[in-house]
Symmetry: C3
Subunit: 392 residues, 3 copies
């Protein structure tokens, strides 16, 4: 009996289901954060991304990222599906941040390009192995489950998209920033907690094997540290917010937790308990300070995706070079920084070009009237809660 092969397959199937649980996780989080009139549209985008990005990755992207489908430590189908489960996440990050104004058809086209080409190339130059990566770019970054490859990649694509698409109608008027409250807090909590739990599969599964005592310890430590960073991010965000406003803002607490989770994603297998607490505390604090900063420079991101994913994707990757520096094995701050910078330049540039081109033919931005009326009507033809009378 090939016990190790069997156990690794079972473990990876378990990790896959946790990661796919992040699809309803992201969907609920975003549906709760946007206004009622855009809820169906945001949900449709989330389901579309899972379907289209996964299929693009299955048919094209996987080969670009990893070459031939082959695996010796587990069933190749489990490995294939595990990698497929990642792809939607990067695009989810991007789509969330342009919510309430981006139209679905151009988003679908960009999803094909990002799932089939941009993300697989980012994977290839970080986790793959070929001439392009090893010789030309010489990337030696440690990035266990994608602080950079998933989260910063999604963040850079989002930044490119926001620069092209612009902010929501009425969000900024003169010096005034209009606060738009989340429409459904239970969905925000449900979504964030599903993401949190899904992260165990994300980071734990990325260790790649559980079938020896050392591997089992590494997987368990990774999941333990992942959770600790989430806890730390939530706690620090709650403390900062309470000190400032004497109020407990649950959306900020949860964004703090997600910030910690993004930050731990690059090095969860390498950190100690106290490292993980530090990485999470700084991650959560960064979110609390970044959210108003992006608003100050008029970068309109309704779900805080840049603060959570881009800022903490960078922080988490650099944190490996600080807390787990190991020059003998080529783990250095400079190598981490170089990896962050190369992915940044690559993803931002190509995303900007692709979004710019798609935008010329199929404009991303919904008209002012459609935004006023809500994208649910113009894009989906149905309201999210047609029977509930609206106060706003």
């Amino acid at each position: 009996m090939d016990t190790a092969y069997v156990i690794n397959t079972l473990f990876t199937l378990f990790a896959i289901t946790l990661i796919i649980l992040m699809v309803p996780g992201f969907a609920m989080l975003e549906a709760g954060l946007v206004r009622t009139k855009n809820v169906s549209s945001v949900l449709t985008v989330n389901v579309m991304i899972y379907a289209v990005a996964s299929m693009a990755f299955i048919l094209i992207g996987y080969t670009l990222a990893f070459g031939e489908l082959h695996n010796e430590t587990m069933s190749k189908w489990a490995f294939f599906m595990f990698q497929m489960a990642f792809v939607g996440k990067a695009i989810n990050i991007m789509s969330g941040g342009v919510g309430e104004r981006a139209r679905l058809l151009p988003l679908s086209l960009f999803t094909i390009v990002m799932g089939g080409f941009i993300y697989p190339t980012a994977v290839n130059i970080t986790w793959g192995s070929d001439w392009f990566k090893d010789t030309l770019l010489d990337i030696n970054m440690v990035d266990l489950a994608g602080s950079t490859v998933i989260h910063s990649t999604g963040g850079w694509a989002l930044l490119a998209a926001i620069l092209i698409i612009g902010s929501r109608k009425g969000r900024y008027a003169g010096n005034h920033i209009r606060v738009i409250p989340a429409s459904n807090i239970p969905l925000v909590v449900l979504g964030a907690m599903l993401l949190w739990i899904g992260w165990f599969g994300f980071n734990g599964g990325s260790v790649g094997s559980i079938a020896t005592k050392e591997a089992a310890n590494s997987v368990a430590l990774t999941i333990f540290n992942t959770n600790v960073a989430g806890l730390s991010g939530a706690i620090i965000a709650g403390i900062i917010i309470y000190i400032r406003y004497k109020l407990f803002d649950i959306t900020m607490i949860l964004n703090g937790a997600l910030g910690g989770l993004v930050a731990i994603t690059a090095g969860a297998h390498l950190f100690t308990l106290y490292d993980s607490i530090m990485v999470g505390l700084i991650g959560g604090a960064l979110v609390v300070f970044a959210v108003p900063l992006f608003d100050k420079v008029r970068i309109d991101d309704p779900v805080g995706a840049l603060s959570v994913h881009l800022i903490n994707g960078i922080w988490g990757t650099l944190a490996v070079g600080i807390f787990a520096s190991d020059p003998a094995h080529n783990v250095t701050f400079m190598n981490q920084l170089k990896g962050v910078a190369e992915i940044a330049v690559f993803v931002f540039t190509i995303s900007y070009v692709i979004i710019y081109l798609i935008n010329k033919v199929f404009p991303f931005r919904a008209s002012d009237e459609d935004q006023m009326q809500g994208l649910d009507v113009s894009e989906c033809g149905l309201e999210a809660y047609p029977e509930f009378k609206r106060a706003i």
Copy 2:
């Protein structure tokens, strides 16, 4: 150490939790699709079915289906619970389609009969082994996780129920079909995604063992194909709907995904990647075309259960005979067709008789006034959202 026994038990326990996650999955999907005034009633039916059908199967049905409780490849308690987790699904399919007008007491009585007798007999003549099945019916259908045994069985019972109970008050008036919009789209998305993820346990667990290299490959391929069919069903439904209406109707996209998932359920372990795409594409398309067709013939099914489960249960079972035909091992289109037909005749006839008899004593159909006021008040004595002011 009995490693294979232990691993199969663990794997089956994992599959069980995924399948039971389909209980809130179905509940949220149906609660989102019906009108606000019937939401509590629909939720109560879903919980009742899980409790009553499972208990009927534990106390009576299992023995009818499989004989003595015994298992050598895993703990018998895991196998028992895995089989128990299936039974509610068939009845859920039936109850969803008669939502917004069927009363709970007669539904509970039918649940006992279906969970204790009808479904176990359908299981016996497909997956069991005795004189009745082998000699009299001579069924040789391949049906991995129940395209026919679960989904068509539920669908035929539903058709019988709709013929007896009738359509919702006010749904059809003269030539007019009144469109009744879903009341809560986030719940629809959450429910559909929980079902999707639960399906991995459904189909993967049905392979029966993961404890050899071949078995692990078979399980992983099954789950991979299951997901691919869901993706394909969602994509084709989205494309068809967009071409027709220039809108993205998320309820139809999700029903397309579920159609693909139902269709792949009979042969997920036998198909290639491209087979799975074809099975899912056709499954998703069938749903989009079947929904208006059932309305045309005045068969009122508020959640699209016949289109998703009956039509695709049949299609998926036949698809095995098309894409995975293997006459040397007795896998032929005719064998599949024969199995579909025999289950159809058996389930439809017996369900019709039982529902007819129950209906004589405890009428299924809520009065017109109760339907107008909503079943939440008349059946449950509580509203689903008592504080939200209604616009409709």
Copy 3:
């Protein structure tokens, strides 16, 4: 290869994710049961408890409960996280029952004390092993996954809290008990079902190992019995309620299920199928009768936590002494009763003192105006559903 070590680690990681799924489970259940104006506050408490109690347990509580971090049957990180996943539950029980009037800052302080000291001590004197437990208290109670250690512990702390904090403003006026309906039934169902599924990890994982044939059978039997008690509790609650009112009250049916689940938690590994049915039936019935009784004595518990967790925590622990009595192995009714009583005295006394002291400095009770307006505004600064017009 250390197969047993690897499989136990994987199994425990699986159990952990199920238990952490109870965080959104509790959050959704409570958010559905309270009024709209307190939903954000209740959700914030749930997330706060997970973050703060887990961190207090990681930094302090674990050592108090178990001594040095060490494990031979699985990765110590998996064991550590499994134990951490338990701590929040006891506090969740307490916080739910003081919902709609308890302020967040004092709750956070009590969470630190309960997660860092009270709960770990209760664990130590039941599951630990040292002079204090073995010699002084001489506790020999069987309590697999915490009918007493988790559920009664939470319940006793809740009782102390209610005695100090008092009932919600306007709940009892003269002889009149004001019925306050649940605000969101789908969330109640979703939450209860997530708790139900999480219980499989709770009880199954508490067996401690799955890596032999006997251990695998024990885990599978435990999960099977757990489910059976939940089914039985739901069924009996539904029957009693229907006989009394000719209505199906889904909140009571689900509380019946939860009562059965709490009751089976002490001895799920020891019971037969029919024992489990009896334990669940009695558990579900106890909830239905206890809810109005607590109201009669003016103990205001908006989510029924005392009926579900305290009453059934006691019943379940005693049930071990009735159905699984085994004097040769020191399992007797008197030993169970003694354990229940010692935990009761310890937890109630210390909780009362701590809550009393915190209350002197940071009053738990929100002002009457804040309660009228809702704690969402005064504690969180945001409403749960700002766009839905309220009928009440």
